[in-house]
C-alpha cells in the first residue's frame, strides 16, 4: 500500500505537469482494503479483476510498476500498447483481466474464469476476486453477476469499497439500505463489514473471506467503509465532499493508520519505514523514467484490426 501511495503521488504530479493524457484515478484512502485483497491472493493460481482504485491490490497481486507507468504514459511497450490507458490495463493471461469502464461488469467475468476452472478440473483451492465501489452496487451487472456466482457456488470474493461518493454522488442518492453488507443475505452469500481505514482489520477480514471461499464456502462479499481521499480523478478537486466527512473517523488516512500500527505492533520501526519509502520512491522513479524514454505507438505501424481471424476463415 505504501508503494501504491508513492506511485500514485508521482502519477498525480505527472498529470498536473501535463505528462499524462486522459485521466489519473487514485486509490488514496483505499490502499488498506485493496492491498489486503491483493496480498491474500496467489498469482498463478487465483484471479483478480481490479477496478479503478486498486493500485495497492494490483501491486500486491504482482503487477509490475512498469505495467502501470507504461500504460499511463502511453508507451508502446506496455500491456495495452497505447490502445487503452491509465487503470484500464491488465494481463488476462496472468489471471488479472483488464477492466472496462462499465461498473459491475467484472463481477460475472471473474465468475466465468472460476466456472472455466471448474470445468477444466483446476478449481480446487482457487479463489477469484474483484473490487467495486458503492456506485457499482447500483448496477444490473453487479446484481446479475453476484447472483450468478451464488447460484454457481463459485469461490469468489467481491470487495465493495464504500468510499461514500460515486464521482460526486453521495450514498444517500445511491442506495437506501443501512449497510451494504446486508445485501449479501439476499444473495445467499456471506457478507462482512470492515473499517476500511484500519489495515489490520482489513487484512483479517479479507484473509478470512478468502479462506472461506477457498475452502468451498461460496461467494463472499466484503464492504469496506472508508472515504475517498482524492477527487474522482485528478481533474476533480472533490470539493463536494463535506468537511465533516473529512474530519470524521473515515476521513483518516489508512496509510498513516497502518504506519502507526506497524510501529505500535513492533512490526517495523519508523526508520525502517522511512527507508522503505526511499527505496520505493527510487523504484517508482525508475519505472517512470523508463516508460518516459520508450516510444509512443506509431499510427503507421498499427495494424488497425480488432479481430484476430483472417477471412475467409478456413478452420484447420
Amino acid at each position: 500500500m505504501l508503494k501504491a501511495r508513492i506511485l500514485e503521488n508521482k502519477l498525480s504530479s505527472l498529470y498536473k505537469a501535463g505528462k499524462i493524457v486522459g485521466g489519473v484515478y487514485l486509490g488514496k484512502g483505499q490502499e488498506a482494503i485493496s492491498g489486503s485483497l491483493g496480498a491474500a491472493l496467489v498469482q498463478g493460481k487465483d484471479c483478480f479483476a481490479p477496478l479503478i482504485r486498486d493500485q495497492a491490490g494490483r501491486t500486491a497481486f504482482g503487477e509490475s510498476l512498469l505495467d502501470c507507468t507504461r500504460t499511463y504514459l502511453g508507451s508502446v511497450e506496455g500491456p495495452m500498447k497505447g490502445r487503452d490507458g491509465n487503470i484500464h490495463r491488465g494481463r488476462p493471461e496472468m489471471g488479472m483481466p483488464a477492466m472496462i469502464s462499465h461498473l459491475g461488469a467484472q463481477v460475472p467475468l471473474i465468475a466465468g474464469m472460476l466456472f472455466a476452472k471448474r470445468l477444466k478440473g483446476t478449481l480446487e483451492g482457487c479463489v477469484g476476486a474483484t473490487s467495486v465501489g458503492d456506485g457499482a452496487t447500483s448496477t444490473g451487472a453487479f446484481h446479475e453477476g453476484l447472483n450468478l456466482a451464488a447460484v454457481e457456488k463459485l469461490p469468489m470474493v467481491v470487495v465493495v469499497a464504500n468510499n461514500q461518493f460515486a464521482y460526486s454522488t453521495p450514498n444517500t442518492r445511491q442506495f437506501a439500505c443501512a449497510d451494504l453488507a446486508e445485501r449479501a443475505k439476499g444473495y445467499g452469500i456471506a457478507g462482512f463489514s470492515v473499517d476500511g481505514t484500519d489495515l489490520l482489520e482489513c487484512a483479517k477480514v479479507v484473509r478470512k473471506a478468502v479462506k472461506r471461499a477457498r475452502e468451498g464456502g461460496g461467494p463472499q462479499m466484503i464492504v469496506a467503509n472508508l472515504l475517498r481521499l482524492s477527487g474522482h480523478g485528478e481533474h476533480d478537486d472533490g470539493s463536494y465532499v463535506p468537511s465533516n466527512a473529512k474530519a470524521g473517523h473515515y476521513g483518516r488516512d489508512c496509510v498513516e493508520v497502518a504506519t502507526q500500527q506497524m510501529v505500535d505492533g513492533g512490526y517495523a520501526t519508523v526508520d525502517e519505514i522511512l527507508a522503505w519509502q526511499e527505496e520505493m520512491a527510487a523504484e517508482v522513479q525508475k519505472a517512470v523514467a523508463q516508460a518516459q524514454q520508450e516510444a509512443a505507438p506509431d499510427p503507421y505501424k498499427e495494424d488497425w484490426t480488432a479481430l484476430s481471424t483472417k477471412f475467409p476463415f478456413i478452420p484447420s
Binding site: 469502464s101 460475472p108 474464469m113 476452472k117 451487472a141 447460484v151 480488432a306 484476430s308
Partner: protein, 321 residues
Amino acid sequence: MSVTYIDAIREAQEKLLREDDRVFLYGQDIASFGGAFKATKGLADAFPNRVFDCPISEDAMIGLAVGAAIEGMRPIIEMQFADFSSVAFNQIVNQAATHFYRTGMPIPITVRLPSGGTPGSGPFHSQSMEGIYAQYPGLVVVTPATVSDAYHMLIDSVKLDDPVLYCEHKFLYRWLKSKSINGDYLPIGQARIARPGKHATVVTYSAMVHEAVRAADRLQADGWEIEVVDLRSVKPLDLDTVLASVARTGRLLALGEAFPWGGVTSEIVSRVTEEGFHLLDAPPQRLNARDTPVPYHPKLWAAHRPTPESICEALRKLLSF
C-alpha cells in the same frame, strides 16, 4: 429423411461438444428442458456438466462466457431470443468486442441469437440485431440462410478465435428442410450466389434469401432474370462477390428484415456506390422492415417485413430505370 434448420443447429452443437472439451453451453432453459426452441434437446443428458441452465441474467451470461474464454474455454451462449441480447449489450460490445484489440488475447465465444419475426411474436420476440452488432469493431456477425450453413457456420463460428454473433432465423427453424446437412460448403467471409440472374442483383441474408428467391421466381414469368446474393455473414462483408454480381447486372436491391434506419442494407448500398458507382445502371434501392416496432398481429406483421410482393415491387421499380 430430411434435416431442418434447427436440427442442424442441434447437430452442430452435439458435434462440437463431442469433439472439443473446451466447448460448453450456457443459457436459459437449455439443459433438461432442451431450450425454448429445442436447439439443445438431449444434449444435457449426452454431455453431463457441459450444458447448463442459467439465471435470467443476459449481462452475466456473456460476462461469464468472456471470463471462461480467457481461461481457454469455447462457450456457446444461447440467448433465448435475440431481442434479449440488448440486456447483454454492454458485455458484448465493450467486454468481448474490445478484448483482443486492447489486450492481444482473442475471446472465442459464440452467442446464438434466435432472430427475426414469426407470426404473433410481437415487438420483443422478433428483432433482427445483426446491424447493431456489426457496427462494433471486434465482432463477427453471421446470418445463415440454409440448413447446411446453419450447421457448418455454427461449427466454424466456435472454431474461430473471435466473438461471433450467430444470428439464426426462427422462421427457418422448422420451415426450412434439406435432404442433407452437407451442402456446398463455403468458409465464413464468403458470400454465395443463391440464384443466378442477369438483370438485377438482390443482396440479402438469412430468411430474406428465401423471400428474394420467391420474388425472383415470380419475375421470371415476365422474363426477368434476377440474381440473389446470400451474404452468409454480414461481418465480414464479402464485397467482392457483391460487386461482381452488380457488374453483371448493373442494378442493386439491398434487402433485409431489420429496421430501416442504417444497418446492413445501408452499408451495402454505400459500399457499392463508393466502389462500384461505374457499374450501376440505376439508383441502388433498399428494402427493409418498416420503421415501427415489430407488430404482434399476423396481418400487421406480414406487412411490416419485406414480402415476395413488396420485393417484386421494389425490383420492378429498379428495373424501370
